[in-house]
Symmetry: C2
Subunit: 307 residues, 2 copies
Amino acid sequence: MNTPLIGLDWGSTRLRAYRFDEVGGVADTRALPWGSRQLPQGGFEEAFARAVEGWPHAPVLACGMVGSRGGWREVPYLDTPCRLEALGRSLTAIDAPDGRTVHIVPGLRDPAGPDVMRGEETQVAGVLARMPGLAGNARLLMPGTHSKWVRVRDDAVTGFTTLMTGELFALLRGHSVLGAGLPEGGADDEAFARGVAAAQASGAAGGLSRLFSTRALMLEGALAPASVADFLSGLLIGDELRMALAAGWATPDAPVLVVGEDALCARYRQAAPAFGLSLQSTPGATAASGLWRVAAAAGLLHGLSHA
Amino acid sequence: MNTPLIGLDWGSTRLRAYRFDEVGGVADTRALPWGSRQLPQGGFEEAFARAVEGWPHAPVLACGMVGSRGGWREVPYLDTPCRLEALGRSLTAIDAPDGRTVHIVPGLRDPAGPDVMRGEETQVAGVLARMPGLAGNARLLMPGTHSKWVRVRDDAVTGFTTLMTGELFALLRGHSVLGAGLPEGGADDEAFARGVAAAQASGAAGGLSRLFSTRALMLEGALAPASVADFLSGLLIGDELRMALAAGWATPDAPVLVVGEDALCARYRQAAPAFGLSLQSTPGATAASGLWRVAAAAGLLHGLSHA
């Protein structure tokens, strides 16, 4: 079987490698625990060699924190507004020890923030490759450690912002007076909903103004210790939605596409109605679709036709 | 010299012991690193014995986390609205091994939050003992790990809220992608002012919506790594002021008294004008004054006259 492209979605904590078939389908996937912040002995070169071991010498395209400061090579950002087609024309090439060339997708920078992203630009390209009808005008949410809210118009990213919900949750859950040392709970949807409601009720002050109520509720027995994490999750996700609305990244009348891990997206969809927001799911494996699309725009798919 | 009272201001990370003279002045002070979360071998009893070693067998009054769950003894909260005189009528007595009796001041609970405090209620009593003209109507800010915003009317605490600014700062500075591993800086007032301005410019979305700009500014060289902590401090303190205004704990036309450590209070006063707020300093040693006042209300000062 022919392999026209190998794609790498290389973040700060993990690496996903894709071997593509001739029509842009994923023939093989490898998931490795080596992100830019946690690498094997031998660093990026060794992680790369293991990720593509035994795969044909096809062109390699990589996106994500691999191109950040502290990554394999720091590659420049493109400023917004940025047409998605432009990503493929601004690749940076690295020579790997095995003779392969690894092309790295640039990140995006929104000068208005300023704000930056690496990897999500490729996911946006993948979403729009799968849902081309949206390329004219879309709003996307990519929840996670650093949630991204993205505006697309005329097949260009016109702006974006980062809200640090996932990282704040991890800090508060693991290291704060609110969450440290508490028992693990199951998924407590009711506690999550209470957190969302607290964020919604916080009004203009915002969910962070209600943070300490978590402790007071637990002390007086109104919130079980094992449910604190879910309450906090609801409070922070709710506050993310509030902030996105207040800053104009979402409006109640325009649907937002949610791109990411199923369980996390489900929580955002659960929280959305309290804020009058409509969040819509998107097809998975958007990074792979995006890598294929960027490779096509870059002319890396030698002799293959592409959409 | 007669010692009518020993006071203990006993928080989660430290213990301050005061030996009072006949007129409520502090004749001697001891500062010990033993809070309710970090105690010597022998626990509370041993810490207490060392704190009062060699001092006369006077009545002992303690406030703060010593009365919390996980403290020496969990003592109840009084609900707001709560007259400050009521604190002295709700003490809990513990018998120490040396035969002394330690009386613990109750904390306060605001059922509207819910929210809780332990120790600050005694500081409020101390501030108003020193500035009795304010007891009719005052707003206080006690900045710190868990900042408290307090409303006083007719010598009663009518409500309060906790904003976790100090703890969020410590988490973001020490453990987040924004601050972990960065060099220590000096006090960079200009970076602090930039953080305050970013919080102010965030409008209704709030300062947390601008958190990730810290990283983007640093990556592009617009914020020196050694100045990140000050920028974050300005952003978070600014956002605390924004939240307090949005939730009605402060109004631009009513001055707020700031009670706490000088350097921290100075930063809050530096940030206040951007939000149209007027923050006024208060005399120091408010916990000692409060302990004396509560002891007087409790009738612990046998035979002494008091204001």
